[in-house]
């Protein structure tokens, strides 16, 4: 394998891993706190992409505005999703298969969001202006677009910001408390009725920001959330449900596998090879890389 390939794989791993991390970390946050798999996360990416299209292409405004707008819009959407598709089920959670039912309800929300976009915008793939255009050449033949670089940096920054939020702020600590022991958190006076939508809003906002960047790379269209959802699911389950560190490791691991596969066997094979790897891993290590879902490690 040539040096070019190795550098290419390394760069691609960091970029893919960072963006996977940003989308997946929201899902982990949600699983750790609410104990559900939020299937609407992918559509939040799509919403972010369309907002970026609207602000950057249609209105021609500043990219920072796109990021802020996407954050706010998807935060609200995420909170609403919790209130509509999860909160009504909370009361019955011991009587039903809570995880499967919320899987379906959040999936229904995704279906609605995707198809409203379809009705509003049609199936066309719309170009989204990159936040930053141009790029540099890192090594012979290894080009690094600024868009990708910025995406990776912003993703890492946001993941770090989330970590600080959880570790040092009152609400962040409350979220961790709910993830570790719901009853005890309630006894401390944590208003879980407000905390749940806040958490889902926050997680969706992360996905929305990811969508601003991904739109620049992969267009804005109604189904734009399908692939990110799948990739986030893979990362989250691979890394151990409910474990934030695990999600980050898994994101880069998956990024590495995919990048390596792309270089070695080509882009068409990379995703199926990824699935093949997952099949194998799940057969050998049923709980993924890190930890069982009962041990939430936010």
């Amino acid at each position: 394998m040539a040096m070019t390939d190795i550098v290419g794989i390394a760069v691609s791993t960091i970029i893919l891993g960072s963006i996977y991390g940003l989308v997946a970390i929201g899902m982990t946050l949600i699983y750790g706190t609410l104990r559900i798999l939020d299937m609407s996360q992918g559509s939040m990416v799509m919403v972010g992409s369309f907002i970026a299209w609207g602000i950057l292409v249609v209105a021609g405004w500043n990219p920072a505005l796109a990021i802020i707008a996407a954050f706010i819009a998807t935060f609200i959407l995420g909170a609403l999703t919790q209130l509509v598709s999860v909160q009504p089920l909370m009361r019955r959670r011991s009587a039903i298969d809570f995880e499967m039912v919320t899987f379906i309800t959040t999936f229904a929300v995704a279906m609605v969001l995707t198809n409203v976009a379809l009705e509003l915008f049609g199936p066309f793939q719309r170009n989204v202006t990159p936040v930053i255009s141009g790029g540099i050449s890192i090594y012979h033949g290894v080009d690094l677009p600024y868009q990708s670089l910025t995406m990776a940096l912003v993703s890492i920054a946001m993941m770090a910001a989330l970590g600080v939020f959880l570790a040092r702020t009152r609400w962040g600590m409350a979220i961790r408390a709910v993830a570790q022991d719901l009853d005890a958190a309630r006894l401390m006076g944590v208003p879980v009725g407000k905390l749940y939508p806040l958490t889902m809003g926050l997680a969706s906002a992360l996905a929305g920001v990811a969508g601003v960047f991904l739109g620049g790379l992969y267009f804005a269209y109604p189904q734009a959330g399908d692939l990110p959802l799948l990739e986030a699911l893979i990362v989250v389950i691979f890394g151990g449900l409910g474990s934030l560190p695990g999600t980050v490791y898994a994101a880069y691991a998956i990024g590495l596998i995919q990048s390596a596969a792309e270089v070695i066997v080509g882009t068409t094979w990379s995703l199926p090879i990824l699935y093949g790897v997952i099949l194998l891993v799940l057969i050998i290590r049923p709980y993924g890389l890190l930890g069982k879902p009962s041990e939430a490690r936010l």
Binding site: S94, A95, R170, M173, A174, R176, A177, Q180, D181, D183, A184, A185, R186, L187, M188, G189, V190, P191, V192, G193, R297, L298
Partner: protein
């Protein structure tokens, strides 16, 4: 003199299709330490959870200092001054001791208030202060129980519910725990204590209530019930 701090009337509660407590009545006066004893699985823990709002009663009423709190969620009831130290200890295992304490003062308005409360707890529990930056799950059972008690002191409370504080602890640890509970009582707190181990309770208990098959079948001052041979034999083993 105002009414009782806690009044429970005709309370029924349980889980899914099972009723664990039925028609239970209990009164606790301000400053009193009431002890609930009885066989395992007969509803003592369920009663505490129904009072603190973790589970919703199916019938009956709970009045906290005259205020009807029946059916309100735990978050709200705790804001009214009810502190519940659950069975086990209810600590946040992945958080440090200090973070656990800070969570104890979650509703407190300012960061300064919370830090002041932490300082007070450290003063009372030097062992806890020593372990301040350790993760809760690395502590021994006795230390965790002390942290849980310290956490319970982090905010002003009108009534403190403590569920089996000596469960699974070595005798030395139990001594420390009950010393802390004793200090709590001396400060004038109203306490409801669930306990299997009757040895240490004597120093703290004002009233004893026997809980069996979901209701209270006997009540009275500690001196009286501990002298009753039937009760002693059935529930208390040896004193």
């Amino acid at each position: 003199m105002s009414g009782p701090m806690l009044e429970v009337a005709g309370l029924s509660a349980g889980y899914l299709d099972t009723t664990v407590i039925a028609g239970l009545a209990l009164t606790v006066q301000a400053g009193e330490a009431a002890v609930l004893i009885g066989p395992n699985g007969h509803g003592k823990t369920t009663l505490l959870r129904a009072i603190s709002g973790l589970i919703t009663p199916s019938a009956g009423r709970v009045l906290l200092d005259g205020q009807d709190v029946t059916g309100r969620p735990a978050e709200q009831i705790s804001a009214l001054g009810l502190v519940h130290v659950p069975q086990g200890d209810g600590l946040f295992a992945e958080m440090t001791v200090e973070e656990n304490l800070m969570m104890g003062a979650f509703p407190a308005a300012s960061w300064r208030d919370r830090r002041a409360a932490v300082a007070r707890v450290y003063e009372q529990f030097p062992v806890v202060a020593e372990r301040a930056s350790q993760r809760a799950r690395t502590l021994s059972g006795g230390e965790r129980r002390l942290v849980a008690l310290g956490r319970a002191l982090m905010r002003p409370s009108r009534i403190t519910l403590i569920d089996e504080p000596s469960l699974g602890l070595a005798p030395v640890a139990i001594d420390a725990v009950y010393e802390a509970i004793g200090r709590l009582k001396e400060s004038g707190a109203t306490i409801v204590l669930v306990e299997e181990n009757f040895t240490h309770v004597g120093a703290v208990a004002d009233a004893v209530h026997v809980v069996e098959t979901g209701t209270i079948i006997a009540s009275g001052p500690y001196a009286e019930l501990s002298a009753d041979p039937a009760i002693v034999q059935t529930y208390l083993g040896s004193l």
